[in-house]
């Protein structure tokens, strides 16, 4: 699929196992940057008030501390926080983004420092134009700083161990008594379709009752077409239960 090439980056480990990074979109990255800029600006306005108390002792020393403080804080915020939080700034953490090494290795301090020191060129001439264009042209969505440091910015959705028991329910799965239909389903249902059905069941309580009925009716109708289930099996099983039965036979093989 074309999207695999444009939005995913695959890394193969020495053990021969491959895993995938989901590259963050430029829009998400821009939103994280906005959050970080706001954080720096708000935090500095508080710090500056505290530092200005030094004026009580010496206006000159206060001037030095404020000038150096702002420079270090604005330049060092991203470096320090990405180092402390393994590739995440506050904006990135809020939006579930993370800077990672393009080979999947642990990020080094040099990589974090370099990608942030090069923000200047990515920001040229205005509003991250150079960085934005480079990101769009690059198949790993890297701005110049990321190219130099060999890093990627990835999106990490919340992952949890799938809970099969929660989805299966307690009712008898009538589909299992019809071997040919189960075989047809396993052959015809694509991974993305199986996942869609799984997600619909996992999130059933989030839907309005009317929408839920409509959604499961559509899913059930589709799976019934694929499975070519005999008409006598359709009548007594509600659409949602039928989808649940389909997910059960797709994901759980009881031999």
């Amino acid at each position: 699929m074309n999207t695999d090439r444009t939005h995913l980056w695959r890394v193969r480990t020495p053990e021969g196992v491959a895993f995938t990074f989901r590259l963050a979109s430029p829009v998400l990255r821009a939103a994280a940057l906005m959050i970080d800029l706001a954080v720096v600006s708000i935090a500095w306005s508080v710090i500056a008030v505290v530092l200005s108390l030094l004026k009580l002792f010496s206006e000159d020393i206060a001037g030095l501390v404020i000038a150096l403080g702002y420079f270090l804080f604005s330049q060092g915020y991203n470096i320090a926080i990405e180092w402390m939080w393994r590739g995440q700034s506050l904006g990135k953490r809020v939006l579930r983004l993370r800077v990672v090494d393009a080979r999947g290795l642990r990020l080094t301090f040099a990589q974090i420092a370099l990608r942030n020191l090069l923000r200047f060129v990515d920001g040229l001439p205005l509003f991250y134009l150079v960085g934005g264009v480079t990101t769009l042209l690059n198949n790993r969505a890297q701005r110049l700083g990321d190219l130099a440091a060999d890093t990627l910015v990835v999106w990490e959705p919340a992952e949890s161990v799938p809970d099969f028991a929660a989805l299966r329910g307690e009712k008898y799965n009538s589909l299992r008594s019809h071997g040919p239909a189960v075989a047809r389903l396993r052959q015809a249902v694509s991974p993305s379709e199986a996942r869609a059905a799984w997600s619909a069941l996992a999130r059933r309580d989030e839907f309005d009752a009317e929408e839920r009925v409509k959604l499961f009716a559509e899913l059930a109708a589709y799976f019934r077409t694929l499975a070519a289930v005999p008409p006598e099996m359709n009548e007594p099983v509600a659409d949602e239960q039928f989808v649940r039965n389909v997910v059960d036979v797709l994901y759980v093989n009881r031999g």
């Binding site: 480990t13 053990e15 196992v17 000159d60 501390v65 301090f109 161990v161």
Partner: protein
């Protein structure tokens, strides 16, 4: 092949969750170190989960568990195979006395290129001001340098440094941040295949040459060296080190004569570039303090001989530091702290 995914997940889940917890704990503390037992357990859990992922990959209809495991294996891979971070073994003394000067020498070619460009720029600036005094208006970097040198010398000697008496610290902070910004810009523009770095280093040389020849032609050589040497012998090399970092970056980008891929070349250059930038920034802190608290005082407050001698001593010390520090019997000392 997995015959029962539910059973497989139920059996393996405790290991996955244990690896997840271990990785979370490590992520929370960038300075944490594992004991031998913990490291062995981490590796064993990682190997097991990687094997689980390999088994699950054949089960195409189960993307949720696969993605969960991919995430775990990705994080585990980074911990198991990742390089040691700076936090684990960084020692400031070793970095100052060994890593920075050794890096400087390892990338000396780029420094000589920056120096040569500065010299060519200085000759150009000096020639321009000598041949066409009106060029001074264009080439001088700051307003206070555009007037006649003799008038400035007379004014500053009369002021006895009072102009800065209540704002020396602020002035020094302004110098440090401004010069560091210029240095970092020279480095960052290495990503323009070195063209931006070349322009900054050359134009810096042009301004330097214009100022020097302006004062020399006006017969103010003693003032010039007394004013410029104490901070300039550190400030100018620091900017050259920034240019050196930019050229190292450009060299990795261009990859002339190298058979390694672009990403690998840049990855190899990154630690040296960052080390050079940090070294240059530290040099500029020193230069800023000297410029604000020492260079701006002239005779009769401070004798020019003293200022010039101080500048020359700094130059000798800096040269020794950059070219000799960290050498052990002619070879780089082992155990240098790395920013990797």
């Amino acid at each position: 092949m997995i015959v029962n995914l539910e059973k497989f997940v139920a059996e393996e889940r405790p290991r996955w969750e244990r690896l997840d917890a271990r990785l979370r704990k490590l992520a929370e503390d960038p300075w944490s170190k594992l004991s031998l037992v913990e490291a062995r357990e981490l590796e064993s859990l990682y190997q097991r989960v990687a094997a689980d992922l390999a088994r699950l990959s054949s089960y195409a209809a189960e993307p949720e568990a696969r993605q969960y495991l991919e995430n775990l294996v990705g994080r585990g891979h980074a911990e198991i195979h990742g390089a040691r971070g700076a936090g684990a073994g960084f020692r400031l003394g070793a970095w100052l006395l060994q890593t920075f000067p050794q890096t400087f020498r390892r990338q000396a070619q780029a420094f000589w290129l920056a120096l040569a460009l500065t010299v060519v720029g200085a000759i150009f600036g000096a020639g321009a001001v000598a041949l066409d005094p009106e060029a001074k208006e264009v080439l001088m970097p700051f307003d206070h340098l555009r007037g006649g040198p003799s008038e400035r010398v007379a004014r500053e000697q009369e002021n006895r440094g009072k102009e800065l008496s209540d704002r020396k610290a602020r002035f020094s902070g302004m110098l440090m941040t401004h010069n560091t910004q210029v240095t970092l810009t020279a480095m960052a523009l290495g990503m323009s295949w070195g063209i931006g770095t070349l322009v900054i280093i050359f134009s810096n040389g042009v301004m330097l040459g214009a100022v020097v020849v302006d004062y020399l032609l006006d017969g103010q050589a003693t003032f010039l060296f007394g004013w410029l040497l104490p901070h300039g012998v550190v400030e100018i090399p620091a900017i050259l080190v920034g240019g050196q970092a930019g050229f190292v970056l450009a060299g990795a980008l261009l990859g002339r004569g190298q058979r390694v891929r672009l990403a690998a070349r840049l990855r190899a250059a990154a630690p040296d570039v960052v080390t050079l930038c940090l070294g240059a920034a530290l040099m500029l802190v020193w230069a800023g303090l000297v410029e604000a608290f020492f260079s701006q005082y002239h005779e009769p407050v401070l004798p020019y001989a003293l200022k010039i001698s101080f500048g020359l001593m700094e130059l000798v010390a800096l040269t020794w530091y950059l070219f000799r520090s960290g050498l052990a019997g002619g070879k780089p000392a082992s155990g240098a702290a790395k920013i990797s």
